[in-house]
Amino acid sequence: MSMSQEEIEALMNGIDLDDSGDKESDELVEEKSSQTLSTDEIESLINEASPNVDDDLSSEVSNDDIEALLATIEGVKGDESLSQNNIESKAVASSSDAEIEKVASDWASKKLEEGVIPYPVTNDHKPINQLSEVAHDSEEKATRIFDVLSFILDENNYIQQESKKLDEFLNKQVALMEALSSKFPNIDVFRSNHQAALELKGNIGLINSKIDAENMQLFEAMELMQFHDINRQKIERVMAVIRKLSRYLNNLFEDDGSHKEVAVAKHIHGDVNNDVVGGDDLEALIAEFNKG
């Protein structure tokens, strides 16, 4: 059933029309729709509408309702093949997009390698930007390496301080066991304990000398880290050269802006290009067009 313009307008105003198409009721509807509602009227309307909404929401769903709902969902399954087709066609489209992208990317990489096209002007390809990033990152990492070296150095110092206490204790033990073993030479325990205490003392001395050697290595590593600063300064020197070169090239190629942009010829006689037409080609082309 086609709708009249009035019906469409009424629909757009959110008012349902009676299918009978009664003219009077139409006019009434139009009148009503043009009326502006007061705040009280709006509130009463909301109050009228609200309980119904609440009722709908609060009404409990019975098992039968759920079954009916499930049945409608199952009914929808019939359309699954259609949606499956849609998914498949989308997948095909996206895979062909991916293929096109891959081909384009391969082509661009090849041309970049050949030096036919330049690298895009992004931060990743700007030398100063990259060099500055390298200098900054390596400074950050160097600081962290230094933290690690300092930590090991501090821990070694702690171990050496604690081993001093152990050494002091062992000194007392050695003296005690020495006195006891000399006073009671027949008791083996004193003599063997004296020997063990002496051995442990020797071990602590060995550990301390190993830690000292390790500390020396750490100091050497810290000294070598000066090369990080030297290399950073070399990078900064390169950056300075690039900046100066860039400024020079800008000065060299810039114009004073008084020259207007002129249209340039795409194909000029003498160009080595398949698109350039020779005298015969030109005549043949003109003749062919004149035939039509």
Partner: protein, 123 residues
């Protein structure tokens, strides 16, 4: 004794600080600044017995700092050692003329720094 270490590289400041600590100083005995401007601010606010400075730094370089220190203020007589990658003869002469007491070229060993520190501190 209070020492001021000036270098834009945090790694270098730590290396120098480490050597200074090996000489028997504690962390409280030295302050750090990353350029000449910050160093000058510290020099104005406090009292230092020795300045160890780099040459190439942003904002105010080491040479300008030396000239400023020697030009006036509380530290005109304070010993200054320049620790830098600038190893040219002309640069060394320029630094000495500006008022530097000693000059160390990077990379340096802890022994060299200790020697120079001892030499400056004895005077």
């Amino acid at each position: 004794m209070k020492i001021l270490i000036v270098d834009d590289s945090s790694t270098m400041r730590r290396i120098i600080g480490n050597v200074v600590m090996q000489l028997g100083f504690s962390k409280n005995d030295f302050d750090e600044a990353e350029d000449g401007i910050k160093a000058w601010k510290l020099l104005e606010e406090g009292r230092y017995d020795l300045v160890l400075t780099d040459w190439n730094m942003p904002n105010m370089n080491g040479l300008e700092l030396v000239q400023k220190i020697r030009g006036g203020g509380n530290h005109t007589k304070t010993p200054i050692i320049m620790i830098t990658t600038e190893g040219g003869k002309a640069e060394v002469v320029t630094a000495l003329k500006a008022g530097v007491n000693n000059y160390i070229v990077k990379p340096f060993s802890a022994e060299v720094l200790k020697e120079k520190l001892d030499g400056v501190m004895k005077k």
